[in-house]
Symmetry: C2
Subunit: 407 residues, 2 copies
């Protein structure tokens, strides 16, 4: 194989993003590539000449298996958007110079829709300057908000973690003989896929979540209080799932309705936190019932001890498929998952033009959200296959073992 | 065996309290007891004549195995303190009448130090009226704050969950190439055992937690800010573990220093929440660094998918040992764990007078907390054996299966 490979990870981490890295690395090595470089901290790190020789880091099959079980981005991540090509050619020339210097002919970037923008711009620039480097996007995001693909690697494991912990929170929340209200806040700023996964908790052995609120629908606080009052009148303890991104009619996030200090992070993003707490206080004040607010927080994207084997395998496969496609000459593409059968569940990989994927958000269709504040069976059937089966952690001295690029 | 058995669960749930229930049930049935009753919602439910025949509910070996893997209290719980004997004989007479009616000769109560008060009072009253019913306490609490016993069933699994998730949070928190501060709030109102378990994350594959703050020591905010500044000056991302119960010199909880609304729950307990958030805001304001606050919340006590096999086994054993002791005539006692060897770790059960255990809190010794805001190796060595080995969840359709008394 002529030329080397470089691979980077970008955006928010997931539990299985390293499985895609393993898929890229192993597939490239198996096809005789001499060097597989890893960018440290994505394209931003590469601009600072931060990279590692992955063959030195991943020297045994055990390393590959540990990598698959390591949460967060093994190579480090960044949140960095390349400038528009017309505005800053210098940055692009610098990147291509570094790639040439490393004799890189194949460039893989594992990330969400922001990161696919990097693949789009680099492959566009490559065409302009007549470069023969192939650029391929490898999808990941717990949010499942990428266009074209049936679902994104990372979503299934986050959904499994959410459904499994909701079952546990429900057991915990229903333990007393007086009614309580537990409100659980789940990630997803604009898309409700993860919050919808809470619906999977319901089953033969579990009462399930009572109400689910996604950001795709305007959140009506009075209606919400009425629904809780209705259940409370039946003497019921209840568990409610809300998305961190739910907004009221005037466009404000629910947490913005409180008099708490409002935070803006280093990137100018409003820090979403406290919608569950705000609603728990509201319910406690209006109904006089004991309430509790739980934020599932970053464990949703890093609980590698509770991953979906289906997800891990698909994450590996999209990495491998990206390498295969690039080696066959494709560029400026993203590997996507196409569900070819529901029963039994079967998914294959395809490649798709990055221009139709980058910067586009896929939301939960409104027809999958019910009038009684839940989600449809169609939505549950869509998610269910994605959480199937497990990949047991490798436990050492009582704790899951990870792979650490710095150790 | 003459007479029936009754067993109840009380106080905050744990991941392994049902393993103790399994130990009581199985040991009693194996010794030929005709009926094993389960109180619904502890002694409070019993007073309302709420109980089940456990033989009907637990009819197969599979049920026992599912019970061991079910978080929270299978029979339901209560937070109810019996009146002083001198003040209200009526309540006691009612309880003993119900027990007589059910032909109960052996009474087991699984709980923490508040629940052991119930065993103390019932056995005292039994002596006064000359009852031949045997009363035994079975210890549980994630807080590990029970006197006399080396540790409490429930603590090891919570410690394992905390250490495992801290490892994941650390991988997630160190992913970017700029410094961030993650502050994780851990349960434990007065005792810092659980927060100390965060120290176990450090190892060959993990940078570990940087700073640990337990409630046993006065929390000095200026000192804290200085410590964070010091680490930040080295360009370090950091992860910090704090107990929900840390207090400043004047006795206020850290979260009480904020201008947030203060909550008091139905029992007059102040709702502890927000110390991590308060400190994260403080650090963000003073240093200008990106911060994140995480509350591990109730998953610490209900994450049955990540239990310690050592803990599950010991929880089962204290249940069994309570039955054995009661059948041999003991009463007014609590089963305790005695560590007879550290290397290899070995623990046996003993029984101990309930009067020396009820209502007493065991805290982390100050000599196990270091000057540089961490814990000693002695404390780590004390906890390490308690998190060893696993009991895999039984996964059905992608999720851990539980046993549900109402289904």
């Amino acid at each position: 194989m002529v030329g080397n490979v470089i691979v980077g990870q970008s955006g928010g981490p997931t539990s299985v993003i390293n499985s895609s890295l393993a898929g890229v690395f192993k597939t490239a090595k198996d096809r005789g590539v001499k060097k597989v470089y890893g960018m440290r901290h994505g394209i931003k790190g590469l601009l600072d000449r931060q990279f590692v020789d992955l063959s030195e880091k991943l020297s045994s099959d055990m390393d590959i298996d540990l990598l698959k079980r390591t949460p967060s981005s093994y190579l480090g991540s960044c949140r960095y958007k390349l400038p528009e090509i017309g505005e800053d050619k210098e940055t692009y020339d610098k990147i291509f110079a570094i790639l040439d210097e490393l004799d890189v002919k194949f460039f893989f970037y594992i990330g969400g829709n922001d990161s696919m923008d990097t693949i789009k711009k680099l492959s566009d620039y490559g065409l302009i300057i007549g470069s023969d480097i192939k650029f391929m996007g490898v999808p990941k995001t717990i949010d499942n908000d990428l266009a074209v693909t049936d679902h994104t690697p990372g979503f299934g494991s986050a959904a499994k973690y959410i459904a499994a912990t909701m079952k546990e929170i429900i057991r915990d929340g229903l333990v007393y003989d007086y009614p309580t209200v537990t409100i659980v806040e789940i990630m997803g700023r604009n898309a409700g896929w993860l919050t919808a996964a809470a619906a999977l908790a319901r089953g033969e052995d579990c009462e399930g979540v009572d109400l689910i609120y996604l950001p795709e629908k305007v959140f009506d606080i009075d209606h919400f209080v009425d629904k809780v009052k209705e259940l409370y009148a039946n003497g019921r303890s209840m568990v409610i799932a809300i998305s961190e991104g739910i907004k009221v009619l005037d466009g404000r996030y629910v947490f913005e309705l409180s008099d708490h200090v409002e935070f803006v992070d280093a990137f100018g993003h409003k820090q979403l936190a406290g919608s569950a707490k705000f609603l728990a206080n509201k319910i406690a004040a209006e109904i006089g019932v004991k309430t509790r607010a739980i934020e599932l927080s970053s464990l949703q994207r890093c609980a590698a001890h509770m991953t979906s084997r289906t997800d891990i395998t698909e994450a590996y496969n999209v990495g491998g498929a990206a390498v295969k496609a690039a080696f066959e000459g494709e560029s400026g593409k993203v590997v996507v998952l196409k569900r070819i059968s529901d029963d039994p569940y079967m998914c294959i990989t395809e490649t798709h033009d990055v221009h139709q994927i980058a910067n586009i958000e896929k939301k939960v269709p409104l027809e999958w959200i019910t009038e009684d504040d839940f989600v449809t069976d169609d939505l549950i059937h869509y998610i269910r296959p994605l959480i199937q089966a497990e990949l047991s952690p490798i436990m050492v001295d009582g704790l899951p073992r990870h792979l650490n690029v710095d150790k």
